[in-house]
């Protein structure tokens, strides 16, 4: 996962405020600028035939937004949602311009921290096993490690995660003979 040495060389670009939350025993962070709000878990309408981590959709004051389960996304063992489980609503820049709202289910929200460039380290190379592509960097906060996540990467990919078209290929395909 060495495709982005330039980003890695400049951790300064990532300094700022982060909202930290937990998944299992691990601590993660989202850039605060992307976070719109935090809501309690509410009934989620499942969307059929979707990957397991796409939990479904919710009605956020009239807007239908997709909700992902970050535990499932990062292949944590499935666990019932607890008292502190909640949905972090984030704003993701769409490649086509504009913003989309999406929700991420996390185990618990912790706090907002201010991180300087010195606090953030580049992602070490695990040799491929953990998926580091979603990781912006690692931050050490009061002795414990916090994994900063790249929101664009996490959510952008789900645009391609859905079903392939169910219909047969377009009959307009001219080269079929």
């Amino acid at each position: 996962m060495n495709q982005e040495p330039s980003l890695r060389a400049q951790p300064a670009a990532r300094e700022g405020r982060y909202l930290t939350f937990t998944l299992g025993d691990e601590s993660y962070g989202f850039p605060v600028l992307n976070v719109r709000e935090i809501i309690r878990l509410c009934p989620i309408t499942p969307v059929p035939r979707m990957p397991a981590h796409v939990k479904g959709v919710i009605n956020l004051r009239g807007t239908v937004i997709a909700v992902l389960d970050l535990r499932a996304k990062f292949q944590f063992a499935a666990k019932d949602y607890g008292e502190r489980s909640c949905i972090i609503v984030v704003q993701v820049a769409a490649p086509s311009g504009g913003n989309t709202l999406m929700g991420a289910i996390v185990d618990a929200v912790e706090e907002v921290v201010q991180l300087t460039a010195d606090d953030i380290e580049a992602t070490p190379d695990f040799g491929g096993a953990p998926e580091t592509q979603y990781i912006l960097g690692l931050a050490t906060i009061e002795g414990s490690v916090n994994i900063l996540l790249n929101i664009e990467k996490i959510f952008a990919e789900d645009g391609t995660l859905s079903l392939p078209p169910l219909t047969k290929p377009e009959p307009t395909q001219p080269d079929k003979g």
């Binding site: 059929p48 990957p51 999406m102 995660l161 079903l163 001219p174 003979g177």
Partner: protein
């Protein structure tokens, strides 16, 4: 009461002349083109003046009377009716005579002889100051006038009117800014764009004089924009004069639309402005046209009736009196039309619709709240009922805000067909159906271009020449039928011509030639037809200036695809071609049937539902041991167990435990086995967002009454997907890179 200045000998004549001219003015105010109303009284007054002028009056008055006599005789000897030109001339004349009176009264210098007034016999003193005065008003230099085709273009004109008012307001504001800061590039740009838009609209409505003026003003501003011309007060004057003329016209359109003077040609005095603009563009300073009569300014016309100082004379105001023009421009606040429109940011609209949706849900939460329900109060029940009535009404209103009838676009097509037919010398009638069908405005806007293109194609290539049609035993009159409807849970627009139909052989040959298909390709008819949507496809031999069938059809297809729609073609040689545009109801409101499968609820668009029933034992038969069909109205229809397909545990194990909903898409139908029907509901389709954009199982989501999200099934997919009998669908694993 008159000042002592007038010469002794004429002192008794002045009030009389002023009186007559005043009455003449009143009479003039009532004349109308193509009518003789007022002609005889005016003649009478002119005769009175002539009698008066036999002795000692200013020479200009006599000269003016001679001009009027020529004109009047011309009218009396000729058609016996006024025309718009004569009316305008008389109004100008009256204004000038008024100013002559004024100079007579005050003893000041007499006004200049207006340019272009012809005299049958030279009246010495009157022509002294201006050598060009005797140039006859050439007939070719008549001010253009425009006759509105109210019957044909009513809707378009109304749109034009509203839009124009807005543009003019923009120009007006722009001019005010320019006066402060002549170098403001943004403002120049915005005025440029406003004139450009004006030109476009005028061109479309064939308001040629208007288009020409807007075009010249646009060129002027363009030159300014590129710094080819410095912005001077002269140019600002020109912009103002131009905007004034446009405003005059727009106001006339507005009053005609409201039924005043309907059908009366509108005189559109642009000649001078255009001439000045063009000379400015050539870099000359504008030709000084004869000084306007000083008396035009109202303040000086005291004592003389100013009734006939009509708009026309105001519009003739020359740059010399710029201050007053600017003033007039500022004063003339544009009257708001009776039924006004407001342009809104669509995001605000969406927001409103969302909030109203929230309100409805909050309202039902209050009503259904158990604590509230135990309150035993008739008063409360009444209040709650009132609340729910208002919220429902509010919701319906809010939803309808986004919907507009497709009428405006259809009527544009009317115009297009008329023009194209004339150009191609074909006889074509356009039949419109379903103009009142309401579409989401986003769709309506984006539909215009593809429709124009397809209609062009139909007129140009779909329909044969009259001679060919007659030879084939068809009516000489070609027919294009344009229909819009809500169907199949979506929007269907059909363009149907009764022309020669698509030439399969040629399309195929062309496609093979162009390398789009292999020579040995075995294509079905619809596959061949859809080749015309391939980029770069064109049966070039049919190319004309209007269109080539195939040229740009790929653009049409792409536009429609961008709306998540598709185009289908049916064509019978010799009988015509039908293009069917199918569009989804994104953002639209649909009637949905809420069904339950297992623990989940889904919405099926009511329009796609043919019927629903509880099957009796034995109605469902298996085929090859796993496929299932159900007999519906004598036809075996494939059955799809929705629960299995969606991966939800269904409660209905045997078909007779559930309900079969028969849905259709195109000619195909399929029975969906669901657990229960929950209810019918009108819902607003909401996009599911980016995360689900690549699936085609769901057409969208909708917020249900309890605040949850209901998913709307895409019936086309369910009906058309390859037959997958009652097997549970396996979720597809994440395609991680």
């Amino acid at each position: 009461m008159f000042p002592e200045n007038p010469k002794e000998s004429s002192i008794s004549r002045f009030p009389k002349a002023a009186d007559i001219i005043g009455q003449l003015g009143e009479e003039l105010a009532f004349v109308a083109p193509n009518q003789d109303r007022g002609l005889l009284p005016i003649n009478r007054f002119v005769m009175d003046l002539e009698e008066l002028a036999e002795a000692d009056v200013p020479p200009q008055l006599t000269a003016g009377l001679q001009v009027a006599r020529v004109w009047l005789d011309h009218v009396l000897d000729g058609p016996g009716k006024f025309t718009k030109e004569t009316i305008r001339n008389f109004n100008e004349w009256h204004a000038w005579m008024t100013s002559v009176l004024l100079s007579w009264q005050t003893g000041t210098a007499t006004p200049a002889w207006p340019e272009g007034w012809a005299l049958t016999e030279k009246s010495g003193s009157a022509t002294q100051r201006d050598g060009s005065a005797t140039t006859a008003l050439p007939s070719g230099a008549e001010e253009p006038s425009i006759c509105l085709d109210l019957a044909e273009d009513f809707g378009l004109l109304r749109e034009f009117h509203g839009e124009s008012l807005e543009l003019l307001q923009g120009i007006e504001q722009g001019v005010l800014v320019l006066e402060e800061n002549p170098a403001d590039a943004t403002t120049i740009d915005s005025i440029f764009r406003a004139f450009h838009t004006f030109k476009g609209a005028a061109g479309f409505l064939h308001l040629d004089a208007l288009r020409d003026l807007a075009h010249d003003l646009e060129s002027l501003l363009d030159a300014v924009r590129r710094s080819e011309l410095p912005i001077t007060s002269e140019i600002i004057d020109l912009i103002l004069a131009g905007a004034d003329a446009l405003k005059h016209f727009t106001r006339e359109v507005g009053s005609q639309l409201q039924g005043t003077n309907a059908g009366v040609p509108i005189v559109f005095p642009t000649r001078q402005i255009i001439a000045r603009v063009q000379s400015s563009l050539r870099g000359e300073s504008s030709p000084e046209i004869a000084d306007p009569p000083e008396g035009v300014e109202r303040s000086q016309t005291a004592g003389v009736s100013s009734a006939p100082m009509t708009k026309t004379s105001e519009l003739q105001a020359q740059p010399k009196v710029r201050q007053s023009v600017v003033g007039a421009f500022r004063e003339l606040t544009i009257p708001s039309p009776a039924s006004g429109f407001v342009k809104l940011d669509t995001a605000k609209l969406d927001n409103l619709v969302d909030l109203v949706g929230e309100l409805v849900i909050a309202q039902s939460m209050v009503v259904q709240n158990p604590d509230v329900q135990v309150i035993n109060s008739l008063q409360l029940v009444r209040c709650l009922r009132q609340l729910s009535r208002i919220t429902t009404e509010l919701q319906r209103n809010a939803m309808s805000l986004r919907m507009v009838p497709i009428r405006a676009i259809f009527h544009k097509m009317n115009r297009l067909v008329r023009d194209l037919a004339a150009q191609k010398q074909k006889q074509v009638q356009l039949l419109l159906e379903g103009e009142d069908t309401e579409f989401d405005r986003n769709i309506v806007e984006k539909l215009s271009d593809p429709l124009v293109h397809m209609i062009r194609n139909a007129v140009d290539h779909g329909l044969e020449d009259s001679a060919d049609r007659v030879a084939q035993g068809k009516s000489e009159l070609g027919t294009i039928r344009l229909t819009a409807a809500h169907q199949r849970g979506g929007i269907v627009i059909r363009i149907q011509d009764d022309g020669k139909g698509l030439d399969r052989g040629r399309i195929l040959a062309k496609a093979i030639e162009g390398g789009l298909v292999k020579a040995n390709a075995n294509l079905t008819e619809s596959e061949i037809f859809s080749l015309i949507f391939q980029p770069g496809f064109s049966t070039a031999e049919t190319l004309t200036d209007l269109s080539g069938r195939g040229v740009g059809m790929d653009v049409v297809a792409r536009n429609i695809e961008n709306l998540r729609g598709k185009v289908e073609i049916q064509s019978v040689p010799g009988q015509g071609t039908t293009f069917t545009i199918l569009l989804p109801l994104t953002l639209a409101i649909i009637d949905g049937l809420l069904i339950g499968v297992g623990d989940h609820r889904y919405i099926i668009p009511t329009l796609s539902i043919r019927e629903s029933f509880r099957p009796a034992p034995g109605m469902v038969t298996t085929v090859h041991g796993h496929g299932e069909v159900v007999r519906v109205r004598g036809r075996q229809t494939p059955l799809l167990r929705l629960g299995h397909y969606l991966g939800t545990a269904s409660r209905a194990v045997k078909p007779e435990d559930g309900i079969i909903v028969v849905v259709e898409s195109g000619d195909a139908a399929r029975g969906l086995l669901v657990d229960e029907l929950i209810g019918k509901q009108e819902v607003v389709i909401k996009s599911l967002g980016r995360a689900f954009r690549q699936q085609n199982l769901l057409a969208g989501g909708a917020v249900l009454g309890d605040g949850g999200v209901g998913l709307i099934l895409d019936v086309d997919t369910l009906v058309q997907m390859p037959y997958q009998p009652s097997r549970s669908a396996v979720p597809i694993s994440p395609a991680t890179p």
